[in-house]
């Protein structure tokens, strides 16, 4: 037997998906161990071995691949527990990191302070050197200033160094000279060189990203080395891969060097999973949403490709590495309801978390949370939460809602609960709108793939708010990201800055730079055991009309790159500009410029297969549990709603809303507007009743 395992370490639970050779799989969840996440990870692996009736060692020897998503870097940055970091930078600009170009995100709030820099000012040391905008030396590097800075770093016990000089995107020589001395004099210190990590223009973006990489690097290095050691000692001989923020995976060795690529990797496997679950039902595009305890992640996927942005940030610190364009808002099962000064009901972003938890957990929480509303509205079963492992307290939930919200709103308790349910659904719909409407995309064109423990109870209402006709609740929805990890490919992004007018593009240089990046990708993937025939290359250009300051990233085909087909490239740009900003200047003949050239190299990995189930007919009665009173939002009243056992629903079973489908780790509320059909892979397809024909066809005919 060969196994593959996806592991997602979250704030509360560590999720696992164990995939078997025959394509079947099994879900595991254990409590996370934040002090050393590898402990929880090993616990999960031991449980699996036990279930396979194998000693851990024998089990691990049969594990081919482990794909692992970690938030150790994310947490280090959010909690300021990263490495003591020193910055070597050009004389005269050492405060760029802290200044953040002078933004105060809350303009009217005089108590809103700047974010603490990851390298304090006394560890941001100047190097006398200067390159001009074209990379030509204006002031040669004075190596004595490098030595002086390193003296200070050594004296202060700096654990990581970042090197970022002005205009180094155009000439990396000075940075490399400085880096050489750092390597010699501080051999064990983690080092990031900006022109290696991110050779692209915009100083603040580069310095911030370089420092983030150094700040989080030593912690990731320590963690990965200890994890690899633990796994090896336990008998693991297969391949370990690490999830990145861009939706791909890398080897632990590459992740160690480029720790920044893992900083927002938490939700990054979700979109990958979304693609898989929708494509098997014949969709090319989808929206994925993941509603956990405190946060809600939404992402858009077009042509089976998640959208990528280079404009991300973490904790108000700029991170200019490509990452999946995922919007995260503070909405989850723990979101707390409150009344603002204008008397309006609000939900979140404050969350009760797992401690003190929603009032119904009965472990100290007194404020009304989303889970409390879900309980009193009948969407959750007090005795079957987490498969019955945790009993929920209805009275505590009702009391919290009544005291903190209903009395102030002059509503009765249930009306207030219904209000909470509505408001949080609207908030989440706004998050979905961020990734669709805001980008000019119509959410109604996309099936909504729903994940996370709390997601399926809210999915229909989010979809209704946005008029989305189809919802897909995957079989593995509660451990969506762990499943997504097993479906991820190796992925590397490369960039070169080449500012030039499209018409003056030098063909030799253009093709040479692209080829150089492609070769680099081939080589990096070769080191990760991906043979050339499994490598795919994706080319794009950051383009703009002349004199514009910002670019649009335009995908271009490999054929257009090497055939130097500038007309096609220009046309793609005009089209995209029009879509995003409401106009193009194609007719005016305004010249086009390029700024950055990008290549993404993807090394395809083996994916788990899906097993088709046997058609079991429409009748769901074999899974019927009982009737329960639940609130129907469109009718604004309670009614008896049938409850089904999700584990017993089979391919072809059809459940008309309103209905509740319970599973061990999640529960789905299907509103009256929707129906559910189980697809051949055991996932739930939910669709507007009046469009049933259209979607039922997809499930049964293909």
């Amino acid at each position: 037997m060969k196994y593959r395992i996806g592991i997602d370490v979250g704030g509360t639970f560590t999720d696992f998906l164990l995939a078997f050779e025959d394509g079947t799989s099994r879900i595991y969840k254990v409590l996370s161990t934040p002090d050393d996440p590898s402990i929880g990870l090993m616990t999960g692996l031991s449980e699996m071995a036990k279930d396979q009736n194998l000693p851990l060692k024998d089990f691990l020897q049969q594990v081919e691949t482990i794909v692992h998503g970690t938030t150790v870097t994310t947490n280090a940055v959010l909690t300021y527990n990263g490495a003591k970091t020193g910055l070597l930078t050009t004389l005269g600009v050492r405060d760029a990191l802290e200044m953040r170009r002078g933004i105060r995100e809350e303009q009217y709030n005089n108590r809103y302070t700047n974010v603490e820099p990851l390298a304090p000012r006394y560890l941001r040391r100047p190097v006398k050197e200067r390159l001009n905008y074209a990379g030509e030396v204006v002031i040669p590097i004075d190596m004595s200033t490098v030595d002086e800075a390193i003296d200070i770093f050594i004296k202060e016990g700096v654990e990581a160094v970042a090197v970022c000089f002005m205009n180094s995107f155009a000439n990396k020589e000075h940075e490399e000279m400085a880096a050489k001395v750092v390597r010699e004099r501080m051999p064990d210190t983690y080092l990031t060189v900006s022109s290696t990590l991110l050779p692209s223009i915009r100083f603040y973006d580069r310095v911030s990203t370089t420092v983030l990489n150094s700040y989080s690097g030593p912690i990731l290095r320590r963690y990965l080395r200890s994890l690899v050691k633990r796994l090896e000692e336990a008998g693991f001989t297969g391949t370990l891969l690490i999830m990145q923020s861009n939706g791909g995976v890398v080897s632990p060795q590459v992740a160690e060097e480029r720790a920044g690529v893992t900083l927002l990797s938490g939700p990054a496997a979700g979109p990958v999973a979304g693609i898989t679950y929708t494509s098997i039902n014949g969709f090319n595009d989808c929206l994925t949403v993941d509603m956990g305890g405190t946060s809600f992640d939404a992402a858009l996927i077009k042509n089976q490709t998640p959208l990528v942005t280079s404009e991300g940030e973490i904790n108000r610190l700029r991170l200019a590495l490509p990452m999946l364009d995922i919007v995260t808002i503070g909405a989850g099962g723990g979101s707390i309801g409150w009344i603002d000064e204008g008397g309006l009901l609000r939900m979140g972003p404050q969350s009760a978390g797992s401690k003190p938890g929603p009032a119904c957990y009965d472990i100290g929480g007194e404020l009304p949370a989303c889970t409390d509303a879900d309980l009193v509205l009948g969407y959750l079963d007090a005795d079957f939460f987490a498969g019955g492992r945790m009993k929920l307290n209805y009275d505590k939930a009702a009391k919290a809602i009544d005291e903190h919200l209903a009395k102030k709103l002059k509503f009765d308790m249930l009306e207030a609960a219904a209000g909470m349910y509505n408001v949080i659904n609207v908030n989440m719909a706004a998050g979905v709108r961020e990734v669709t409407v805001k980008k000019g995309e119509d959410p109604r064109d996309y099936p909504l793939v729903v994940a996370g423990g709390a997601g399926p109870n809210h999915a229909c209402m989010i979809a209704l708010e946005l008029e989305i006709p189809v919802i897909i609740i995957p079989k593995e929805s509660s451990i969506f990201c762990a499943a997504g990890m097993l479906m991820s490919d190796l992925k590397h992004d490369y960039v070169r800055t080449y500012p030039v007018a499209l018409k003056q593009l030098d063909r030799e240089k253009f093709t040479r730079l692209f080829k150089e990046m492609a070769d680099e990708g081939t080589e990096d993937l070769r080191k990760e055991n991906i043979p050339r025939e499994r490598v795919e290359y994706f080319y794009s250009l950051d383009m703009r009309y002349t004199k514009q300051y910002h670019e649009v990233n335009v995908n271009i085909s490999e054929a257009d790159v090497y055939a130097f087909n500038l007309e096609n490239i220009a046309e793609e740009f005009h089209k995209l500009h029009n879509l995003l900003y409401g106009y193009s200047l194609e007719n005016e003949g305004t010249p086009i410029e390029i700024l950055n050239m990008r290549v993404t190299c993807i090394g395809r990995t083996e994916k788990p297969r899906f097993i088709e189930e046997k058609y079991a007919g429409e009748d769901p009665s074999g899974a019927f549990k009982r009737y329960r009173k639940a609130y129907l939002p469109s009718k604004r009243e309670f009614a008896d709603v049938p409850v089904f056992d999700g584990a017993k629903l089979l391919y072809g079973n059809r459940v008309a809303g309103p209905a509740i489908v319970e599973q061990v780790n999640t529960s789905a509320f299907i509103t009256a507007e929707y129906s559910l059909i189980v697809d051949r892979y055991g996932s739930f397809m939910v669709f507007l009743k009046d469009r049933e024909q259209e979607f039922a066809g997809r499930i049964f005919n293909e």
Binding site: E98, T113, L580, G582
Partner: protein, 587 residues
């Protein structure tokens, strides 16, 4: 079901929908802002974000805004109402209207607004609009800011509301007339980008009204206004009732060196409204240091908004309880046909007068004085591209804000008019786009006014001017009077600009000056001062003082003199005994 259902015009109010609409308006204005940032050419717009976007109802009342630069923000609504009255019945789907005229509610000549009416079922239901500071607007001086101007025509092309598109069709003659009077092509391209953003908003609003229906939209909009008004009234009730006065000084009118003008405010706080009366303010100047009604009103609103709950939505209801008396003929509301380009920059002085009036009343909600703006603009030819360039030196002008109760001032934030909404250029983009080489842009040591909560740090900037046929224009203040401290806090530092010519001579321009023919290779040197401190510096925790010394933003000398903290310059350790003695002696 015991609740009383509220009904407006026969429509039952769904409070949830009110929240939904408010959020949606906001996200539409943010999307407009994003589009303008991504598409405009002038670094003033795309790097610094010197613009604002907004949505207004069919009558021109504010629905929501994204206010990158608040001083522009509270002009869009009044102009919208003006346009609604001006065109009356002759407003059609597909119209696009330009406006900048300061004598019909515009705030500044360079700030050109684009308006697009939004129709649903043949009815005018809303407007999308945006206003941005253009790289040029005609007049005597490239880039605007003509300190020699005495009349509006010397400053700018006046655009009272004019349709550049009617019913979706470009009025080519009008379009060409406007751009025949503006120096740079990028202005045409930037206004095209602004129109694009209004088109995006129009699409979103039509979708939204179609979804809920017009009657529901209208009723819920009214409810939103009313609930916001209640929030603002609740805030006003937290201010002790009474009449309070404050004043500040404006230095140099651009024509008479040494001249000063007073801004005087009388603030009356009642139960549910607040009035800002500037009747005692000095008369207008003969030059361009004059405000317009809306630039001054914006200054009042943005200052007051910083003293109340920052979560109040920005719509018509927010401003209802705020009354203003700004008589025509004063420096804050100059009579036709005065020059007024400087008007936005009277905001710091206006804010100072308001802060001084309210500091004794709501001491925990005011800040100490902010660094006043002193800014510069450079135009000329970029020899690398053989093309003209013009840029406002945003990165040089960002001083510190004043400290407040419990919090230090914000370092390198810049003028209170923007409150951190306007950004410094990215250094590498600055050097790509303009012929400059940046030598220094760092916090200025000892610039922050000392205090229990110190002022924000100022900034020192140095770069070379490597263009040809260059002119420099300075505009601002703060080179005579620094940001003031409050409750025992000390003042910040002054603003300074120097032009260090290649021949060794140094020219220190006045705070409003047009310097012609600046030679290639001149060094621009600038200090933007720090903000004022709040509270007695001796009460500042020693470890905070030590941290600032270690970070080289407060000197060992200043630590001793201002804060009474004795630090060994070699070891950077605190001499506890000497510190205790020094602090005790100063009590």
């Amino acid at each position: 079901m015991s609740k009383e259902m509220e009904v407006i015009n026969g429509v039952k109010i769904d409070k949830i929908l009110v929240s939904v609409l408010q959020r949606r308006f906001k996200s539409i204005t943010q999307e407009m802002s994003h589009a303008i940032t991504r598409t405009t050419r002038s670094p003033i717009l795309c790097e610094a974000k010197d613009f604002v976007t907004g949505l207004y109802d069919g009558k021109g009342k504010m629905l929501e805004q994204t206010e990158n630069l608040p001083i522009l923000s509270f002009s869009l609504g009044p102009v919208c109402e003006y346009i609604v009255n001006y065109f009356g019945e002759e407003i059609y789907p597909g119209d696009v209207i330009f406006h900048n005229d300061v004598f019909s509610m515009g705030n500044q000549n360079n700030d050109v607004a684009v308006y697009k009416p939004i129709f649903f079922d043949g009815k005018l239901v809303a407007w999308s609009a945006c206003k941005g500071h253009q790289a040029d607007i005609g007049g005597a001086v490239a880039g605007g800011y003509n300190p020699n101007a005495t009349e509006v025509w010397q400053e700018a092309l006046r655009i009272p509301p004019v349709k550049v598109y009617e019913k979706g069709k470009l009025r080519k003659d009008v379009w060409d007339l406007i751009f025949a009077n503006i120096r740079y092509d990028i202005v045409r391209e930037d206004l095209t980008a602004q129109i694009g953003s209004c088109t995006l908003a129009e699409r979103r609003m039509i979708d939204l009204v179609s979804k809920y229906g017009l009657a529901v939209f209208e009723a819920h909009k009214e409810y939103l206004y009313n609930s916001t008004e209640l929030m603002m009234k609740a805030e006003i009730r937290t201010i002790p009732k009474g009449v309070y006065t404050g004043e500040s000084t404006v230095y140099y009118d651009g024509r008479n060196p040494g001249s000063t003008y007073k801004i005087r405010t009388k603030i009356t706080v009642n139960d549910e409204d607040i009035t800002f009366d500037f009747s005692e303010t000095d008369a207008q100047t003969s030059g361009f240091v004059n405000g317009t009604f809306t630039s001054s009103a914006s200054a009042v609103i943005l200052t007051f908004l910083q003293m109340v709950n920052p979560d109040i939505p920005h719509n018509d209801g927010m401003s209802r309880p705020i009354k203003m008396i700004i008589p025509e003929g004063t420096i804050l509301n100059a009579s036709y046909p005065a020059a007024t380009t400087f008007g936005n920059h009277l905001c710091p002085a206006t804010a100072d007068a308001i802060i001084r009036a309210l500091a004794p009343v709501i001491p925990e909600r005011v800040t100490a004085g902010w660094n006043n703006l002193l800014c510069g603009l450079v135009n000329g030819i970029d020899p690398r591209k053989h093309a003209p360039f013009v840029d406002i030196i945003f990165l040089g002008m960002k001083g510190g804000s004043g400290g407040t109760y419990g919090f230090d001032g914000y370092d390198h934030i810049g003028m209170i008019d923007a409150s951190g909404g306007v950004l410094a250029q990215d250094y590498e983009m600055f050097e790509q786009q303009d012929p400059h080489l940046l030598y220094k842009h760092e916090y200025l040591i000892d610039s922050a006014g000392a205090g229990q909560w110190r002022g924000g740090l100022g900034v020192e900037t140095e770069f070379s001017l490597d263009g040809e046929k260059m002119n420099v224009i300075t505009f601002g203040d703060g080179d005579v009077e620094p940001a003031f401290g409050v409750f025992g806090g000390k003042e910040g530092t002054l603003n300074i600009i120097e032009l260090r010519y290649p021949d060794g001579k140094v020219h220190v321009p006045l705070s409003k000056e047009l310097v012609y023919n600046v030679p290639k290779g001149t060094i621009w040197y600038q200090q933007a001062g720090g903000g004022g401190g709040y509270g007695d510096p001796k009460l500042r925790p020693v470890e905070k003082v030590l941290k600032d010394v270690k970070n080289e933003v407060v000197s060992v000398e200043k630590a001793r003199e201002d804060y009474g903290v004795v630090i060994d310059p070699e070891t950077l350790t605190v001499d506890k005994k000497a510190t205790a003695e020094l602090r005790a002696a100063r009590q």
